[in-house]
């Protein structure tokens, strides 16, 4: 052996390190951005950050290529060719803003509802909502309606918090973890970190998913359930647990409405509502006296078994109603096995494992705490069973009730907010009552009468006009879907096109690719966006889009407001919005321009939030102009620091006042610097004694008030039985003055059931199983974020094309071979796509990766890019309405409770077909011109230099 080469194993890593927040998805990890020669050279996770503690996913690490993407917009654009052509001219910011004002100002003065402002998965919803409220239009929402509102709303209505990013399993203590219908989730890195911790500790993971990939691949046990049947499976588990008495009675009595007495008088307008005292406090039967007493009265021993009879009416405890429902043989494992595709034995074994782990492996922590009634508990007792779920159970038309069923199961096991169970992250828990109600009153020249979105507690909270019609363009909070807490973005374009409930003038979209992957029936949506009336005018007269890249949606805009990339602007990840807190800490964070937005030779880009503030000033919106008529805020950074939602409460909670106040305090001009010094985030630990039992823990309630999460303590009990839902049923039965239209009565009666139940997904019942025998699903690839990952030179090499995965049974039946193509037909259309075999897949299910297919010419990709040829969307097969049922009505393909888009109800049939000559999937949307040209051919850059 000769001499080894010498080289420097200790080279300088970079010139400078700047810490900010990732934006390659909504998980919002902390990142260290390394700079060399003033250019981004490397991105890694921030070890101190509460969300990711140093790790970073593929998208996060590839952020550098997103930042350098050739598809970045460079200047405001005005459309010159037909909508969709991609033909634009660059204009100045002044022209762009004046154009927007010219369109919007008259609307505000006459009919503010004619502006429809909808935003995608942006992380400034408290700001955009505030802007829309100031404008006065009721037509504002973010993407939750087509995303996962079932999960969020079912969580809030049931337990005052949800999975999603609002809570997490007690990763350090749980021993049995079940994960339903999750491929990736918003809590992307934390789930992976958590699973890693479970594996390290040898805890058991059960994955319930028709597809065994990703998280389900590493699960110790895979339950390859038939799509749409989780509710049945869960209720069968409930059936078994109740039958065996394996429920936590103590927990139910203390923390839930299980003992609340329900009015059993079928003729009464209060039928099904809680028996209450004169103060409105729900009553329970005291076991000592047999008398109804307020549930929160000191010393009361609530009964769960027996009711009371008052004036001839029997009032029965909730748990009694539950026993009647769930002990029914209809929910026995044998009864559901075939439908769920899970053997009855297996269901029973899982129920037994839940019971064993919850009750035999009880966790006891020596940590005294005091509940809100002042009672001291010496120990914290926990049941180490936890659950997580996402769109797999929520993106179905029975999703709300299914999510409720899962929460009910957690609660019956006593495993919410206890050691080893599921834990909320501040600002949750927060019961429905603590959220606002939706507001919808549009008045010329006036702001809206209150926040747009909220949690209705009964028919009186619906967003209806005087004559009972939907007040919002998306028909959210109408009788069709009363609890649509996140709005219904997927209905906006089709309703606006139909002029139902009314036409709009300007459609203002921010960060949503509505002309492509976030629409149902993409080709039809494109037609709606381009459609003209008899005069040749567009049916939707104006479309303004804010995007950072040359997306498919940009091509359909009349005016494009180019945003910066995430490394070039201020952003605020606020506790007023979607939290990044941990179960034992409140946290918020920001983004700041770690690199200046430069687009040499072009008018340049501006952070959208700053642009909105500028527009707000030009439109004279309240809160955005000061007394002299000057802009109230210089830009978004200024807003982040100086805006106050309530006195002392602003977008950022850390370092308020003189820098020593947290949570509450006067604005601090140096606040942003303090955040940057701290790595871009702020974190406040919850005191130890307050870390569990949060909804009932006096120490937590006090801490939350101090931190500004609540204005006063608000302990509450979990709603096994949902009284707000029962109020809608009562309306459907003819009670109350706000009455649903007749055609919706039966459906409301059925689906607004106050106790979780299962019904078959709507599309399944609307079509014949013989015609459409298969379920078709999508999954998110972990290394791709919706449509916008394909412009990333690194990520597109990992997921550049998406075959349709077909289970063995179907593969053999159709004689498929490698390299084959298939025609996939749904009740709404057909696509022609490449297929591939997957064995570890539910036998009645086909699936593909989500949003890999691209329109030719978009994203600065070559028109021959595989994403644009072979890649495809399932969206062409999905309709926002169900197939006609012959009743003359078109019912929505949504959850009837929340309006959640039922993406995963899709039914299809598959046929083998000859591969297209051009090897391109069908339908092929014609190419657009690229407003930003094409990317360079080859890349090799070092140290940030492209």
């Amino acid at each position: 052996m000769g001499k080894q080469p010498e080289f420097d194993t200790s080279p300088p890593v970079s010139d400078e390190l700047r810490k900010t927040t990732c934006y390659m998805c909504a998980c919002r990890c902390g990142i260290n951005v390394h700079l060399k020669d003033g250019q981004v050279s490397y991105i890694e996770g921030n070890r101190d950050h509460p969300v990711n503690r140093g790790v970073l996913c593929a998208k996060g690490s590839a952020g550098i290529m997103q930042h350098l993407s050739p598809a970045r917009l460079r200047a405001p654009l005005r459309r010159t060719g037909p909508r969709g052509s991609g033909e634009f001219e660059e204009i100045t910011w002044e022209e762009a803003l004046e154009t927007a004002v010219r369109w919007m100002k008259p609307l505000r003065e006459t009919a503010p509802e004619k502006l429809a402002f909808f935003t995608g998965r942006d992380q400034s919803q408290s700001f955009t909502g505030w802007w829309a409220q100031a404008f006065g239009t009721p037509n504002y929402a973010a993407h939750g309606g087509f995303c996962s509102v079932n999960m969020a709303a079912a969580g809030i209505y049931t337990m005052g918090g949800a999975f999603w990013e609002f809570g997490q399993p007690d990763w350090e203590r749980t021993k049995l973890f079940m994960i339903f219908g999750v491929a990736e989730d918003h809590d992307s890195n934390p789930i992976k970190m958590g699973l890693g911790r479970l594996k390290e500790r040898g805890a058991k993971v059960i994955g319930v998913n028709p597809i065994r990939s990703g998280y389900n691949a590493i699960a110790d046990e895979w339950v390859g359930i038939t799509p749409g049947t989780d509710g049945l499976f869960i209720l069968a588990l409930v059936h078994e647990l109740m039958r065996a008495g394996k429920i936590d009675l103590d927990y139910l009595i203390r923390y839930t409405n299980a003992p609340f007495l329900v009015n059993g008088d079928a003729g009464s307008p209060d039928h099904g509502l809680f028996l209450r005292d004169e103060n409105g406090t729900p009553l329970v039967r005291d076991r000592g006296t047999g008398k109804p007493v307020p549930h929160d009265a000191p010393g009361v021993e609530p009964d769960l078994a027996q009711g009371v009879r008052i004036a001839g009416t029997t009032h029965r405890p909730v748990l009694q109603l539950m026993a009647e429902r769930y002990l029914d043989p209809a929910y026995a494992p044998e009864a559901v096995a075939a439908r769920c595709g899970i053997p009855a034995d297996r269901i029973r074994r899982i129920a037994a494992e839940l019971a064993r782990t919850a009750f035999e492996e009880e966790i006891v922590i020596d940590r005294p705490w005091t509940d809100w009634k002042g009672q001291r508990h010496e120990k914290m007792i926990g049941r180490p069973v936890s659950f997580h779920a996402m769109r797999g159970i929520s993106a179905h038309s029975n999703g709300f009730q299914t999510c409720r069923a899962l929460h009910m199961l957690q609660i019956l096991l006593g495993s919410v907010e206890v050691p080893g169970g599921f834990r909320f992250k501040p600002p949750y828990p927060k019961p429905p009552e603590a959220h606002p109600r939706p507001h919808c009153k549009a008045r010329p020249g006036q702001p809206l009468d209150g926040p747009h979105l909220g949690y209705p507690l009964g028919p009186e909270d619906l967003a209806l006009t005087e004559d009972g019609r939907p007040a919002r363009i998306d028909k959210a909070f109408s009788w069709e879907n009363p609890l649509s807490a996140h709005g219904m973005m997927h209905m906006v374009i089709s309703n606006a096109h139909a002029g139902d409930p009314y036409p709009v003038d300007t459609l203002f979209l921010y960060m949503a690719n509505m002309a492509w992957n976030s629409s149902m029936s993409t080709k039809r949506v494109i037609e709606m966006l381009t459609d003209t009336d008899a005069n040749g005018d567009h049916v939707i007269p104006h479309i303004i889009v804010s995007d950072a890249y040359s997306s498919e949606m940009v091509a359909y805009a009349d005016l494009v407001l180019p945003d910066t990339t995430y490394l070039e602007r201020h952003d605020c990840i606020s506790l007023l919005d979607r939290p990044i807190s941990e179960a034992d800490a409140a946290a918020d964070s920001l983004r700041w321009p770690v690199i200046a937005p430069e687009r040499p030779g072009h008018a340049g880009v501006r952070g959208f939030q700053s642009v909105l503030l500028d527009l707000g000033h030009r439109l004279g919106l309240p809160g955005m102009v000061d007394e002299e008529g000057n802009p109230a805020y210089a830009d978004y950074a200024d807003y982040m620091v100086r805006h106050e939602r309530r006195p002392g409460i602003g977008p950022l909670a850390g370092w308020r006042g003189d820098g020593s106040a947290h949570g509450r305090g006067a604005p601090n001009p140096a606040q942003i610097e303090r955040y940057i010094e701290n790595g871009g985030f702020w974190l406040a630990h919850i005191p130890e004694e307050a870390q569990y039992f949060k909804p009932w823990n006096a120490a937590y309630q006090d801490w939350a008030v101090e931190t500004g999460l609540y204005d006063s303590p608000q302990p509450y009990v979990f709603n096994l039985y949902s009284e707000p839902m029962r109020r809608f049923q009562l309306a459907a039965e003819g009670h109350g003055h706000r009455q649903p239209p007749d055609h919706l009565r039966a459906r409301l009666s059925e689906t607004m059931d106050p106790l979780p139940f299962w019904y078959p997904p709507f599309e399944e019942t609307a079509v014949s199983e013989d015609d459409f025998p298969l379920h078709a699903l999508t999954q998110r690839p972990m290394a791709m974020y919706h449509s916008w990952g394909s412009q990333n030179a690194w990520l597109r090499q990992i997921h550049g094309v998406n075959p349709l995965y077909v289970p063995r049974k179907v593969w053999d039946a159709h004689g498929f071979e490698e390299g084959d193509w298939a025609r996939l037909t749904s009740p709404h259309g057909e696509i022609t796509v490449p297929v591939a075999l997957m064995e570890a897949l539910n036998g009645d299910t086909v699936w593909t990766w989500n949003a890999i297919g691209k329109r030719r010419g978009a994203w600065a990709l070559d028109e021959t890019a595989r994403e644009a040829r072979e890649g495809f969307l399932l969206n062409h097969l999905i309709h926002e309405l169900l197939p006609p049922k012959g009743d003359g009505l078109r019912w929505a393909n949504s959850d009837p409770v929340t309006g959640q888009a039922a993406w995963y109800d899709l039914r299809v049939r598959i046929d083998k077909t000859t591969p297209p000559d051009d090897h391109a999937s069908r339908p092929a949307v014609p190419a657009q011109r690229s407003p930003v040209g094409r990317g360079p051919r080859n890349l090799a850059f070092k140290g940030g230099k492209a």
């Binding site: 990939s213 597109r796 090499q797 990992i798 997957m838 570890a840």
Partner: protein, 291 residues
């Protein structure tokens, strides 16, 4: 393996050249003056030309000189050293024959040995690779040497020796194909050993790591259709060995017959070499579900 023209040409042509040199070194044919010049010109052109072709396969041909350094461990380096040594050794030998009509017998013998050693090293570049089981066999050097010696015999005009050698070559080639077809299996590498997952069942690729192409797939995962392989094997065998042997033994000797035989042999040789690469399965294919 990807049948890169540069490598096929390199091994085939340089093999012929070194084969011819091996014969010339032992005085077959016993030529001097301008006819010696002609023979050596052909031999050098083939040998050196082949080596040049191999440079096209290099990412950095300008650094090719570095390849001489690792003769202690690397067959490629040995091949480089030996080929240059061979060409150098034959320099004075050829000059002496051409200009002085003198045969430096010992130098010639050494040169012949070097030439054969060169061909042997070339073959060992491949035969030493365990990752390509079809190559990892003593028949590979045997075959390379046979191709070199028989082709060399043909070029040196040793008609009967050539005819005989071609028959041996045909046999060896057939034997190699028959043996080679079993080697991958015999090596014992499977998707199960590659992944260690055999204990969980049969292993199949679900998704490739990247949907985009990569160097490994282009370089090492080449799949020839069976029909095509069979056709080419026939061509290689007939054209490379059997037909030249027939031509040499039946057709009266002469320039035309020799030219036809050479042409046939070269075609067959190229076909055989193309197959040598194209049919060779690299175990990395197991990771890509391509075996």
């Amino acid at each position: 393996m990807h049948p890169a023209p540069s490598i096929i040409v390199f091994t085939a042509i340089s093999g012929l050249g070194f084969g011819l040199l091996a014969w010339l070194g032992v005085g077959v044919p016993d030529v001097t003056g301008w006819s010696a010049f002609a023979f050596f010109f052909i031999a050098y052109a083939l040998a050196a030309g082949g080596l040049m072709a191999s440079a096209f396969h290099l990412g950095h041909p300008e650094r090719a000189f570095k390849a001489f350094s690792q003769w202690r461990s690397s067959w490629l380096s040995r091949e480089a050293v030996l080929s240059v040594a061979t060409l150098l050794a034959f320099g004075p030998y050829a000059l002496a024959l051409w200009l002085f009509e003198t045969r430096l017998g010992l130098l010639g013998a050494v040169g012949s040995l070097l030439a054969l050693a060169t061909v042997f090293s070339t073959s060992m570049i491949y035969a030493s690779l365990r990752a390509v089981p079809r190559w990892n066999h003593w028949l590979v050097p045997t075959l390379f040497l046979l191709y070199a010696i028989s082709g060399g015999a043909l070029l040196s005009g040793e008609i009967y020796a050539a005819a005989l050698l071609f028959l041996v070559l045909a046999g060896a080639q057939l034997l190699y194909w028959r043996t080679g077809d079993k080697l991958f299996h015999a090596a014992g590498s499977t998707a199960e050993t590659a992944t260690g997952l055999g204990f969980m069942g049969k292993v199949r690729q679900l998704e490739p790591p990247h949907t985009g192409p990569n160097y490994l797939l282009k370089e090492m995962v080449f799949v020839v259709g069976r029909r095509r392989a069979e056709r080419l094997r026939l061509i290689a065998l007939l054209s490379g060995a059997i037909l030249p042997a027939l031509v040499l033994s039946i057709v009266p000797a002469g320039h035309l017959a020799a030219a036809v035989a050479v042409l046939l042999h070269v075609i067959g040789l190229l076909a055989a070499r193309w197959l040598f690469f194209a049919e060779a399965e690299h175990v990395v294919g197991l990771y890509y579900g391509r075996r």
